[in-house]
Symmetry: C2
Subunit: 197 residues, 2 copies
């Protein structure tokens, strides 16, 4: 019996060693956490989450189009939400999407044309937390810092625009090509977005 | 004793459940594998690897700059290589970097300016495999397919350009802002790239 217990303990140590090696830090903060004031804590390992897509100088209004110094916007999703979306085509409760805004440059090192990414300018987070927010989803802006962020008021245009135009449940899956393919396969894309590609 | 063994087994089951939940598929193919012909097998879960950066229409020659229909280039690195780089500022043996080339669009859904990503056009992989390649690094082009890829011949310009201009060991860390910060901290950036930002 002692020998068997030793064997089990041995297997167990190995299993724990594997957990430690395989589980990226990214898993530790992939659900929303709030401080006592209701501010969202910064998801410090979001750069190790799953990348969905990036855009350069994207604009939803004619006025905003064609900025001389466009920003890159990188979108990451929490790993557990990503895995759930792969199976279901929908976002589970506690999903977090991070929008990272970075400056762009054309000339630098050997690059002579187009744009590459440079300094971080802002991080914004969209959270699905159904028991906490009446509209299920909420937005938080961290600026270029990492301190806890206040919720952006629900009168802000991000709420109405995402609710009206998101291809899947308040999110712009139409701009994330690999997720769009999943949503089409799972039949979860909103009817008015059925022709997105 | 039986009770303790049961407890250990219980903990063990839990640990294994965590392994299963936490270990992303991305870990399964994050070292290079070759078939009997020496072709590199497709790293099928690279979209779950660590995103380094993306560019739009980047060009290393004046002639290539300003294409009317620029491509996005997304770069991903194998998770184990990423973690090693975080600690050391250098790429370990078996590092794999994936360059994903995607088409861009300006108008689509509610977007009116700038560019967002659409269809996959090509996947290229840079591999560090010191015992296999005389120059330590090799390139493979998968096109838009997922079949095993032949090595790109070493006379191709990617080899000489990366060797001459990579900020860290044959790689364009100067275009990956989060890795550039690590390389500066660790003091591993090549002297001629010391002023990159």
């Amino acid at each position: 019996m002692a020998k068997r217990a030793g064997l089990i303990a041995g297997v167990c140590m190995w299993a724990l060693a594997v957990v430690s090696a395989a589980a990226p830090d990214a898993e530790h903060d992939d659900v929303p956490r709030y401080n006592a004031d209701g501010r969202l804590t910064f998801p410090s390992s979001y750069r190790e989450w799953i990348f969905l897509s990036s855009g350069l100088g994207m604009s939803y209004s004619a006025e905003g189009a064609g900025a001389a110094d466009p920003s890159f916007t990188n979108v990451f999703v929490s790993p557990s939400a990503y895995r759930s979306f792969q199976r279901t085509g929908t976002w589970p409760d506690k999903t977090m999407l991070v929008l990272e805004v970075r400056a762009s440059r054309s000339r630098g090192s050997i690059n002579q044309g187009g744009h590459f990414q440079t300094d971080l300018n802002a991080v914004e987070v969209e959270v699905k937390d159904q028991s906490r927010f009446a509209g299920k989803w909420a937005f938080f802006g961290f600026g270029d810092g990492t301190g806890p962020a206040k919720q952006i008021p629900t009168a802000a245009s991000c709420y109405s625009c995402h609710a009206a135009n998101g291809a899947v449940d308040n999110t712009f899956v139409q701009f994330y090509p690999t997720m769009l393919a999943v949503a089409k396969t799972r039949g979860t894309i909103r009817p008015q977005n059925a022709n997105e590609r």
